[in-house]
Symmetry: C2
Subunit: 196 residues, 2 copies
DNA sequence: TTACATTACTAACAGATGTTAGTTTATTAT
DNA sequence: ATAATAAACTAACATCTGTTAGTAATGTAA
């Protein structure tokens, strides 16, 4: 009768979600069984249901936690008095840091959200759309100011966001450069690509 | 007793692989059942096994077909007498075109390969590593020639390849710009980001 | 028409899946 | 110590999974 060891500042549900993010990243949502998850947590599968309602709930929890943090960030960034390039620089670094340090959660939110079910699915898709639109708005602002090349803003957003998700490969690579160097390189390439 | 309608120039196996790539893209490999696939093809699940050996084989077929085409392309491109920037430009356009016109296959090869099983898995991972190395070599060449900024070449590869996979969002978006415009925008941003 | 190969069908398998019910054990509050 | 709450356990469910065996229908060549 091993009990779920929950870290000091965290409910048992959070412990389970954390283990889930690890497995969902490793094997994907669909290929992860509740028995896999239970084993990782050190408990029988049925016991999980004392803390959670369903497998879906775990994915929901994960996706919306991440989505909210990003949404909050873009709002405060956009409200700041930085230039457009400055805002983009800041957003970029936020994304990169997140991807470096809370890799698994971001990865899952980014890649496995398709397995959400309605109404969460459409809700989530909506949030993504709003986020990208806001991002594109900042780029458009930069184009108007002549800070940025005359490019299609949504395409630029698409490039930036997906480029960042490439940090996945960085994590997997054997000989990685440092996180700091990675950040500088990414910012250089992407920001210089936008600048006029 | 509906028969599998195979297009003129194609075996029935190819018809099945095509349907599979559609479903694997839509729901992912694990969440796609052989009964789903059978329904899409218009046949009973068991009948599929007159043409294929296993579900895994479908994914293998898909992944390696794509991998080979990309590998062939990078070899001929690298052997050409273009400048480094010219080579990168050409590779970029190849990737983009592929992603635009044979979207589902590339997407699956790119996102679902984790569900391959050994020895195919390690084989595939190896091919990817080789491809990225070759790509990085071209960038390194450009850095040596002073065509390209002094950046970390593997990081640049990572950015480029993942940025391209973002064309996924372009496909999903309601009001898309034209494929040609997309290509020009992507090349502009990414190549200018590299140039010295 | 007959013979043969191809490809579809139905039925079933063994095991995995998410989840529930009912019960026992552990922790907490009185 | 006792009662009450939380959380673990075992057992089982209905359904879905990839796949096989055996058989019937179809298309092709003689």
């Amino acid at each position: 009768m091993a009990k779920i060891k929950s870290k000091k500042n965290g409910t048992k549900k959070e412990t389970i979600v954390e283990a889930a993010s690890h497995l969902f990243h490793e094997k994907g949502f669909s290929a992860t069984s509740m028995r896999d998850l239970a084993e990782k947590v050190g408990v029988e599968a049925a016991s999980l249901y004392n803390h959670i309602q369903s497998k879906s709930e775990l994915l929901q929890e994960l996706c919306f936690k991440i989505a909210n943090e990003f949404m909050t960030n873009i709002e405060t960034t956009d409200a700041s008095d930085l230039t457009a390039i400055g805002k983009i620089n800041s957003l970029l670094r936020f994304h990169i840091n997140y991807m470096v340090h809370r890799f698994e959660e971001v990865f899952v939110a980014d890649r496995e959200w398709k397995h959400l079910s309605d109404p969460y699915l459409s809700n989530y898709q909506n949030q993504r759309r709003i986020y990208r639109k806001r991002f594109a708005g900042i780029i458009q602002e930069g184009i108007r100011n002549k800070e940025i090349k005359d490019i299609d803003a949504p395409t630029a957003v698409l490039i930036i966001l997906h480029a960042i998700s490439g940090i996945e490969s960085w994590h997997r690579s054997k000989k990685k450069i440092s996180a700091e160097l990675l950040e500088e390189n990414m910012v250089t390439i992407l920001v210089e690509g936008l600048k006029k």
